[in-house]
Subunit: 96 residues, 10 copies
């Protein structure tokens, strides 16, 4: 495991204006450092995974790009203290 | 994009008994079809990504294995209707 | 549309004890007047459709049978004032 | 039980603008793949059952048609991992 | 107890625009089938009791008249499956 | 309208232990000053109307009798500042 | 204890528009029967104590004056069934 | 206005175990610095006003005495930044 | 520990309009008595620490300056009854 | 500003068992990397500031020490993406 390659990760859940859901997922994926976008069931409409080289950059991606996307009416952000992934053999990938 | 390889995905958020958080993430990752586990900030403690060959199998992984893991006090499941991933060139990966 | 055949309907959402989800859906379906059971994503685990000949019987199915099923930790009931169904040609089926 | 005929199902709960509830249920039922609409008591006003041939199509019915209907002020979607129905002899109808 | 005279009942809780509470209770009582209106403490401002000859009529009173009254900002409806009343000797009045 | 006959009124919503709902409504109606009990849909199971000669007596009925009934797991009380009733010709019945 | 001097009491919690908090407490205190105003921490901004000669008058103070004050965005009212005060020697002051 | 006499104030809302509400208000009033206790309608059962000579003493009254009273199942505390009282001529009583 | 130097402290959590998060933290820090601003994950966007010489001044900083900053859509304030800090050797710093 | 000295920060809000609040703040401050503990008004009882050399260490302090402290009944964690502090001249201290 190469330490320098492990990236800080945040998960952002978004509620989208009902008339603007179409196409928003695709628009979000064009933002640099947004790695995955899921269209989900439940109280939120989209779940977005952000991965950057630094915690500081994650915050500026969320604040300056993600949350400025049109149609967002509510957001809730979770920061991943640790990421475990089967492809890494089940060992914890620590974010330092 | 090979259609048969796209897998149905669910995201499960878990609140864990305060005295049993240590080691629970690792234990969950041993369950087949659990692809990723994040230790997260916020109202929940863990966010789990489940990927199976069928919607039916996702439900049995969640019901028969994930939710039976010791220490879980609350859960909320989101089903991913669509998954978009940068590695796939920004196109939608539809789950049929 | 034969009026006498239209049946009062209630929808009950259930949160189930994590260790007892397996088999609960099947057990609920054995209760008379429980027409459909869905295993669902979200804050609840099961969504149950109850259809009886009378409002009074719906209440006794919910109170005396459904809610006494083992493993239920929370419930929320919705009463259907009207039911519209594509098979009936899109017209409202009123519950009198 | 013919496997190919089992259809993925989602349940959408809707809160409607107070002045626009009349007629909204009928309008929703005209959308293809919307199978049932219930006018319900509780925090929501309508409960909608969507059945499509694929998970992907369910998402586009919800996003591109259902949620664009006039008067919707809030929505919460549940995905049915499994559907059990008395008409099928009480056996589980798995959604693959 | 004459069965035909027992009437389906719904209880509607209403939050009213702060500047329009005065007079709203009186206006609501003029609507046919609205039997009682209470000005209440708590999260809601008014509690309304609706009694009609049929479940179907209750829904149209709520949808077409009650919720169209000016100043309503939020509503939550409860359907009474059973009504017990001291004047009837403590026996249940079933709503069929 | 005889002023002295107007009685202070409180509405109590109750969530009942799932295994003890049967018979609780009848037991509550035996408590003096409990005028009506409704078995309702929604987040609560029962809605109870309490009418006494004085505000002070309402509180002791709720505290010393109603809330001590077996099986109550949650309660929320609303006090009726004013009661309007169709039988009184639509005029407000003030509670002094 | 002179019975006629004990006054019905309500406590109203208010959320105020962020730009209009300054001066609102003072403006509220000018309303007759508003006895105390607290600027509080928490989800609400102000807690107001209303004391009138009758329950009916409390309701009209809240509805016709308090809630019409500019800047109120949310309110929740509690009615005091009983008031105990150290200055009265610890005995309950009943509100009849 | 004599500054030394103005006392820091906190308001504590309490939910009480249903079987132990009787007598709890009286027991709380015996605690030094608890000035008023109201038995209230709504989600909480009691509202307690605490007045001490110092912010520090308020906290110890709440933590070491009030919250240790038997039967309390939930609490929410509000601190009064300012107290306005009609008896003081409508001027703000600042808490320093 | 010099008593005069211990300062009353409040913590304010803020939800900011999605399009105005950039730069708001810096603008808030320019307000006198705002000691720290954190850009946080979760339901809120910013957590602000306010320290003043008096409780009264804290309230005017929050009401007259902090809450008037552009872009704030929701706020929740916590008052610190006691502050413990490692730099003070682990002893409580009481706020009188 | 020396970059190496800037430390990742998390804020943890805790609800404490009513009978065990006394002394818990002091016990928490003994845990390494717990920098500040506030006894607060509101829905939570304590607000804890955790500062470590790495994000990974913050998570183990929270999981392996903080949350294992006796008496904690609920917790909610916020991660500070950025920390601004007056002592640093109002400039952002980025956490990389």
């Amino acid at each position: 495991m190469f330490h320098g390659m492990v990236m800080p990760t945040a998960i952002v859940m978004l509620k989208i204006d009902h008339r603007k859901v179409t196409g928003t997922a695709e628009k979000l994926l064009e933002i640099p450092d947004i790695a995955e976008v899921y269209s989900v069931s439940g109280r939120f409409d989209l779940l977005v995974v952000v991965r950057s080289d630094s915690v500081d950059k994650i915050e500026s991606v969320i604040t300056d790009a993600l949350l400025k996307t049109e149609g967002i009416v509510e957001s809730e952000t979770m920061f991943a203290f640790r990421s475990l992934d089967k492809r890494e053999g089940g060992r914890a990938i620590d974010v330092d």
